[in-house]
């Protein structure tokens, strides 16, 4: 089979990038025993500002420190790639602002309601062979597929 049909932009950087991501999650687990999903940081960081009991749950107040450092690490890693391995011109996107804002809102709301995102359910959940996470992944893949194709069908993005 011709790989260039499946992967018109090549495949090695995808696989290598995925291995790096997994190594980050594995390193966190090896040293700290923590499960490194990404979406919780958006709830745990609000706990610094908001007194509501929901945000003051131990699962957020107890993890907000390392989650914020982990998120800072994401930025550092991306910066290393940008300065060392890309041409250093700022990336930008053609996705319209309204789609970024509305889409982002749904991503944040949905990930926290469903207790996980592409990394929490996708990488950590599947990596620990949990079937609820597999169902969550199949669900968001399906709705994302429908939405992205409707958007291009209607010429919105």
């Amino acid at each position: 089979m011709d790989l260039s049909i499946l992967f018109p932009y090549g495949w090695a950087h995808y696989l290598l990038g995925g291995l790096f991501i997994g190594t980050g999650v594995a390193l966190l687990f090896l040293f700290t025993g923590l499960i490194g999903g990404m979406s919780s940081v958006f709830s745990s960081t609000w706990s610094y500002l908001l007194r509501q009991p929901y945000f003051q749950q131990a699962r957020y107040t107890g993890s907000r420190g390392w989650r914020l450092v982990y998120a800072a690490g994401l930025v550092v890693g991306a910066l290393v790639w940008w300065l060392g391995f890309a041409d250093g011109t700022p990336l930008h996107t053609e996705v319209p602002t309204w789609a970024l804002l509305v889409g982002g809102f749904l991503v944040g709301y949905g990930a926290r309601l469903g207790n996980g995102c592409t990394s929490g359910h996708g990488i950590c959940g599947l990596g620990s062979l949990q079937w609820p996470s597999l169902l969550a992944v199949l669900t968001f893949m399906a709705t994302a597929f429908i939405t992205a194709n409707l958007m291009s069908f209607w010429g919105l993005a």
Binding site: L19, L27, T32, A58, G62, W81, L101, V107, I123, T143
Partner: protein, 143 residues
Amino acid sequence: MSGPTKMSPAMALVVLASGALFGFGLSLSTMVQPEVVLGFLRLQDGGLMLVMGGAVLVTLLAYRLLPRLLKRPLLGDTFHQHPSQWNRDTLQGAALFGIGWGLCGVCPGPAIAALGTGNWDLLWALGGIALGALAQGLRAGRS
């Protein structure tokens, strides 16, 4: 799962390094570019499957093997687990997450990592995600 409230400098460094590997991988694999993610969802390019596959493979090995090889993590007390549940919240949350993801091609990790690539457009998505998480928490607190 909460974890320690106070972090030793060594632990902070390890957490930062783990995040950095994650962020480097997201950038190298171009997952920080919404167009690539949307191209996958529109079946124009299969790359995201390789990214997920590679990441899940390493994570699976670590989650399976490390608790058998070591009594405890090198700097922590226990190997945590984060059991996921299948209920109405997970179903609705995942469905909404997917609609948002399909709209903008950005998920939480890339929204944060994008700050390191000078992609200020994605601040809109980052702000949206923060507001969405806020709304979810406020709503959950009331019911």
